[in-house]
């Protein structure tokens, strides 16, 4: 948590120094890192965080929306089940980030409610709301498709995506039930072992 805060304030400082500093940091990123997309998000506590703040640790990310009663709880459950399969050390090394595809309704309060309902460990989980214009850009970078339906719900790809510490996509796991598939869990452990 402390570390996340540090990164957050570092991010703020970099923002204050304006774009060249960020561009300098991005230049050192691998070309295929999803953190090549520059985006500012709001978390469940209303704090502004940079998408690149996730850089530095392996992460499992997914896209969802709070007002979703079938697939989205499965995504969260699947992420929690994944955490249960990890040793305490592995658990502490993995961030989980859920990006909203419904920024109009997924206010920090709505995201906070998801965290409470699912009893998420907010030292590890980050529920993030992108700006309106960035949802499509982030979805494109992650290979997530979504479409608003007339009744206010969304069609969307339900997938857990494993990123290495530099934001390269290592593996994807379609969410089909409460448990992530075994091969994906193995990849997560491998990636955590490789991270310094």
């Amino acid at each position: 948590m402390k570390r996340m805060f540090k990164r957050f304030f570092l991010g703020l400082a970099l923002c204050a120094l304006a774009v060249p500093a960020l561009a300098g940091e991005a230049a050192a990123l691998p070309g295929d890192s999803v953190y090549q997309v520059q985006s500012s998000l709001t978390d469940q506590d209303g704090r502004t965080v940079a998408w690149q703040d996730l850089r530095g640790r392996p992460a499992v990310v997914s896209m969802f929306y709070a007002n979703c009663h079938l697939m989205c709880p499965l995504i969260v459950a699947s992420g929690k089940a994944l955490q249960k399969r990890l040793t305490p050390q592995e658990y502490a090394g993995l961030d989980l980030a859920m990006l909203s595809i419904d920024p109009a309704r997924d206010t920090p309060a709505a995201l906070r409610e998801v965290a409470t309902t699912h009893q998420l460990d907010l030292d590890r989980w980050h529920l993030l709301r992108p700006s309106d214009g960035d949802v499509r850009t982030l979805a494109a970078a992650l290979g997530v498709r979504y479409r608003a339906q007339p009744d206010g719900t969304f069609n969307h790809t339900s997938v857990l995506i494993l990123l290495d510490r530099e934001g390269r996509i290592v593996a994807r796991s379609e969410v089909t039930g409460l448990q992530p598939d075994a091969a994906f869990v193995d990849k997560v452990r491998e990636t955590l072992a490789a991270a310094p």
Binding site: A26, G133, R145, T153, N155
Partner: protein, 251 residues
């Protein structure tokens, strides 16, 4: 009301800082799309919005690359553009080709970033199709078999709007049926597979995995061809005859 319209008009007419992109106000309306998503059957309502009068040009894109050099072809990360990106330019910062021509060899990410840089966005497919249904004389010319037949030439030098002096359509928009195809913001939803439905119904969840898209009018081959082309693209893909234009929601 009048004052508000005037302000909106002034906003539309005002050149953006980086470019001289002109936007045309498009009134909203009911529209029966040629394509149909699984969840929809009724005609779709397209809200009023603004669309750029012409496709984004090579000169406009040069100005963008100049102010945002991370989009130069020698600096763009592989996540955001493939190796064909701006491959037809003489140098990384200078095209050496006709500045008035629509820019091509651009990825979806680059088009998305360009539109954001002028305070705009890519048009959605339904917005694009709605405006592209217009001939010079009719807002929905799809009943005109002769006009429609000519759309087979979209994306080629024989396209209806390919010549520089081609007449704008009934909305005052040019180039929708020219030598270049155009990206749309939600192009990735034109393909149904890999979708999972977020609703309550378990059966539909299964159904949804097999694809959410079908066609209302199988005779509209030109649109089918366009959808097939766009659905085959990755957001980092580029093509020598694929460009884009921008749109703005009505405030």
């Amino acid at each position: 009301m009048l004052a508000a319209s005037l302000v909106w008009f002034a906003l539309l007419a005002a050149p953006s800082p980086a470019t001289s992109t002109e936007f045309v106000a498009i009134p909203g309306g009911e529209f029966r799309s040629t394509i149909r998503y699984a969840e929809e059957d009724a005609p779709r309502h397209v809200d009023g919005f603004a669309m750029s009068r012409t496709p984004v040009t090579v000169a406009e894109f040069e100005a963008f690359v100049d102010t945002q050099p991370q989009w130069r072809r020698d600096r763009v990360p592989s996540l955001l553009a493939d190796r064909g990106y701006l491959a037809n330019w003489q140098d990384a910062d200078r095209s050496g080709i006709d500045g008035d021509a629509p820019v091509t060899h651009v990825s979806w990410f680059a088009a998305d970033a360009y539109c954001k840089s002028v305070g705009a966005r890519l048009p959605d497919w339904s917005e694009w199709e709605y405006v592209a249904a217009a001939s010079p004389t009719q807002r929905d010319a799809r009943g005109d078999a002769t006009w429609r037949a000519r759309l087979f030439d979209d994306g080629t030098p024989r396209g209806i709007d390919a010549r520089a002096n081609a007449v704008p359509n009934a909305y005052g928009v040019s180039g929708l049926h020219g030598t270049t195809w155009e990206w749309v913001g939600d192009f990735s939803t034109l393909m149904g597979d890999a979708d999972k439905r977020g609703g309550e119904d378990g059966d539909r969840l299964q159904f949804c995995g097999s694809g959410g898209l079908s066609f209302n009018n199988r005779d509209d081959y030109a649109v089918l061809k366009r959808v097939a082309l766009l659905s085959a693209m990755e957001p980092r893909s580029t093509l020598g005859n694929l460009g884009f234009r921008c749109a703005r929601s009505t405030p």
